[in-house]
Amino acid sequence: MKRAQTKLPGAVVVGLILAIVLDTVIQITWKLAVAHVPGDASLAATIQGAFASPFFYAAMLAFGAQLYNWLRVLARADLSFAQPFTALSFISVLAVSSHSLHENISASKIFGVVLILLGVFFISRTPYRTADASGRDQANPALPFP
């Protein structure tokens, strides 16, 4: 029998929020880093162009922070619980880029955003961690990423 863990710890909540913020930062800075590279450029040219931009290094810095934060989250929560929350960064990236590009958001995009929010809501209603086979509460395991 697998026993459910339902009470979501604060560290997981903070970690998930931080993951979405950092993911947004990474995607925006990455877009800015390759913004001056033509769309039909080769893969090598795209990479070369990215290296030349300071935004690339900002993206790499955020990526390092993201990795540490994500390992902290995964040390505490199920992968199949935590990973779907990253879909929220689709929404934040859409919000940031449509705001900066002064684009109108279509009705289909709004519907898609609602569906993603609903999906993440469903995930958030599930137990954040599968207990081990003994059903023992692992609330305070020796965490490799404190």
Partner: protein, 126 residues
């Protein structure tokens, strides 16, 4: 082979590699491959972060690097309205690997959530 088909193949490969990358990071974060036995062994303790765990994180990072290359390549060949929903199939891949390899409980509500997210990305990319 048409550029679109090449793009789809590259994207499916990217999604598969990304799902494995996430699984490797989870194994590393949980302290090593002991997590693979956890659902099947009674009273297993969590192992401290060891060089074994760190090597799983490195494996995850290498897979991520490969995924970024494949995804960037695919984006050159595919329209975003196609690439974005296909890319979000990684939510399905991660749920499958979590259930089958990591022994996580993935119930109906969690699958429903994954399904909604997948459908949502189709509309967002329109």
């Amino acid at each position: 082979m048409s550029p679109e088909l090449t793009g789809i193949i590259a994207l499916v490969a990217a999604v598969t590699v990304e799902s494995f990358a996430q699984m490797f990071l989870k194994i590393g974060a949980a302290g090593g491959p002991g997590i693979l036995l956890a659902p099947y062994r009674r009273g297993i303790g969590r192992l401290p972060l060891s060089s074994i765990a760190a090597s799983w994180v490195v494996l995850g990072l290498l897979a991520y690097g490969l995924e970024i290359l494949l995804y960037t390549f695919a984006l050159h060949l595919l329209d975003v309205s196609m690439a974005f929903p296909l890319g979000s199939l990684c939510f399905v891949g991660v749920a499958l690997l979590s259930k089958m390899v990591l022994g996580e409980t993935v119930g109906l509500i969690r699958w429903l959530g994954v399904g909604c997210i997948l459908a949502g990305t189709v509309f967002v990319a329109m």
